[in-house]
Symmetry: C2
Subunit: 383 residues, 2 copies
């Protein structure tokens, strides 16, 4: 079988620490199952920028990465000199640029961030139904608020005007909404296969086994809000088996805290998705456990990118204290994704997921350092 190739970019701060453990797990799984998998490490930390003539990645970085089948990213964000993390060398807009470059350059137009509160993970909400949270937030990842257009007129003067343009296309709206409905169907199927069901009501009171909730702020940001609403209603006609729902972003944030167990699939714009997925991470127990997948579902020539939702965590970088759980869940998702090309990788992804979940169930809540958590997962993989 063809060998699938992974570009490993450890990045900044705690990135290299958690990525090292992800690679240990990949090694163990490859050896155990003879997986057709290889990887290359690209050590491009932000703070190497001064050796690289003010660039945070080499000039041909995107071309280099394009040769790979997936990118496994640790975390980006200049953590400053490790002896004084309050003294940053680079602004975020520089050190995080590779992240946005990859998402855009490889047209990773879907960002998937699931939220489930697994046994052992911390429960932040008082209501015990918080244990039942099981949603998938799908974030539009290619346009919207993140197009980077705008500027500063009369910069620095008292008459300054700063603008930022939001640009939404019907094409990108259609594909992300459609993707949401497809995932809702797959989730209903998966539940059925496990003998579980969930019920969602439509407006006319009838019941469906899955739901897509679209998020806008159409009462204030009318133009794209109206377009999103129209596209959503149109696409929904092709999925009569899926219940539909609409929430405004402010109300959605509120309901993520008041009744998050009522959501199934949530489709949101780039910025609104960014906000909701941080809340979704909290619902899963916090940043320590939240994976993130930046996917290009329709162009196999372009690698998808997998990263934990967390950042480079300057405050604990270099001390071996970072929780690698989110990184390991992310690695499991990457393997499942590559399973489209070779089914042995789907199995390996599920095995890794199960090992991390088992470790969390047994030890979640106890204070452990990076190595201890990774070793416990590795021991399970080697059983």
């Amino acid at each position: 079988p063809e060998t699938l190739r992974i570009a490993v970019t450890p990045g900044d701060g705690i990135g290299p620490e958690v990525v090292t453990e992800a690679v240990h797990c990949l090694e163990a799984l490859r050896e155990k199952h003879q997986l057709p998998l290889e990887w290359t490490r690209f050590p491009w930390p932000s703070h190497a920028w001064h050796e690289m003539h003010g660039e945070v990645m080499p000039h041909d970085a995107m071309a280099q990465l394009a040769d790979y089948d997936a990118i496994l990213l640790g975390a980006l964000g200049d953590p400053g000199p490790l002896d004084d993390p309050d003294r940053y060398l680079l602004p975020d807009s520089v050190s995080l640029a590779p992240l946005l470059d990859m998402r855009k350059g490889f047209d990773q137009w879907v960002c998937e961030r699931p939220a489930r509160l697994l046994p052992g993970a911390r429960q932040y909400l008082a209501d015990e139904r918080a244990r039942d949270v099981d949603m998938l937030v799908i974030r539009e990842n290619s346009e919207g608020e993140y197009v980077g257009q705008g500027g500063r007129l009369r910069q620095g003067t008292e008459h300054e005007v700063a603008t930022q343009m939001e640009v939404f296309t019907r094409r990108a709206t259609d594909r992300i909404v459609r993707y949401g409905f497809e995932r809702a169907r797959l989730r209903a199927e998966a539940r059925r296969a496990e003998g579980k069901t969930r019920e969602f009501r439509t407006l006319d009171g009838t019941r469906r086994e899955s739901q897509v909730c679209v998020i806008t702020k159409r009462n204030a940001l009318r133009y794209w809000g109206d377009m999103y609403t129209e596209v959503f209603e149109e696409v929904a006609k092709d999925y009569p088996d899926v219940a539909t729902h609409h929430e405004l972003i402010d109300a959605a944030c509120m309901k993520f805290v008041q009744a998050p167990w009522a959501f199934d699939v949530v489709v949101a714009s780039n910025l609104q998705g960014d906000i909701l997925t941080d809340l979704a991470a909290v619902l899963s127990g916090g940043m320590g456990v939240a994976p993130s997948c930046n996917l290009n579902p329709d162009n196999p020539a372009m690698p998808s990118m997998f990263e934990p939702t967390h950042g480079s965590a300057p405050d604990i970088a270099g001390q071996g204290l970072a929780d690698p759980t989110a990184m390991l869940f992310t690695t499991a998702r990457m393997l499942e994704w590559l399973g489209r090309r070779d089914p042995s990788l789907t199995m390996a992804g599920r095995e890794l997921y199960a090992a991390v979940a088992a470790d969390l169930a047994e030890n979640g809540g106890t204070r452990r350092d990076t190595r201890e958590i990774a070793d416990s997962v590795l021991a399970r993989l080697k059983e």
Copy 2:
């Protein structure tokens, strides 16, 4: 003394029901203390629009309101015909227009939304420190994401592009940030007067009695994010007694759930403030208790507007089920605001606040209808 005049606009859905109770409380307080206060009711529900030639307010509505010292607003948002609230007559962008017109037309550039979890209010977070939440979210209310500029190119076709412009000025940024620091100082003073203190750390580890946290998304929305950051750092120099903090909107939402007791004053843009104040409402026990003040602090000729954070709640409108608590807290804030003109109103505002808080402490959590809650508050006022 001059008589202060209030324009009462009940609005839509549950608006008239909760406003009626607010007026009962105003009557009781006026009688008890001979307050120099009068009010006029402006019944302009959204669904009267067809009698008004497609307008949701009369043409001279803003001129009429300009004569008053404050506006007390119930709620806006067409609730549909009450026998079938799923059938709306008007889109939100029409029925909510008066809200945005008032905020803009009367230059109510501050929106203040406090969050405290009072005894009797529902606690959504598991951590018992949630009881200590005591923050004030200050939302920039005059520009930013809400300028309403943009459009739809090739509307309805597959090549459609929708744009929405965000416009931020240094002047408006400076005034809202400065307002935040002033309020932080006042809050510290008020705490000291009550013999309480709180401690916030600055970057260099020293302690302050109050804090301002500014919110941006400067790592992705650079232009205004950078301007906000610069203005914040500049203004902070005038307030060395106040600790400063910066959060990205996604991280701020997360921390509102994970550790909201760490915030004091939070300053955010129009949309980011909208999102954070819904979360802040949850931290206070939900929409049923959350007041909102739209203030013009520097032009006495323009009325400020007071409304609960909640909407018109079509699902329960017309049934006498709405919780008037948020409306009554809002009325108390209005009286305190008018207290700048006549101190007897400050006292009346505090009395109303205390009566509502006492009712909440005694009966919060029991199922009561609108009248029962209002009667219990009224009884306390008449004691």
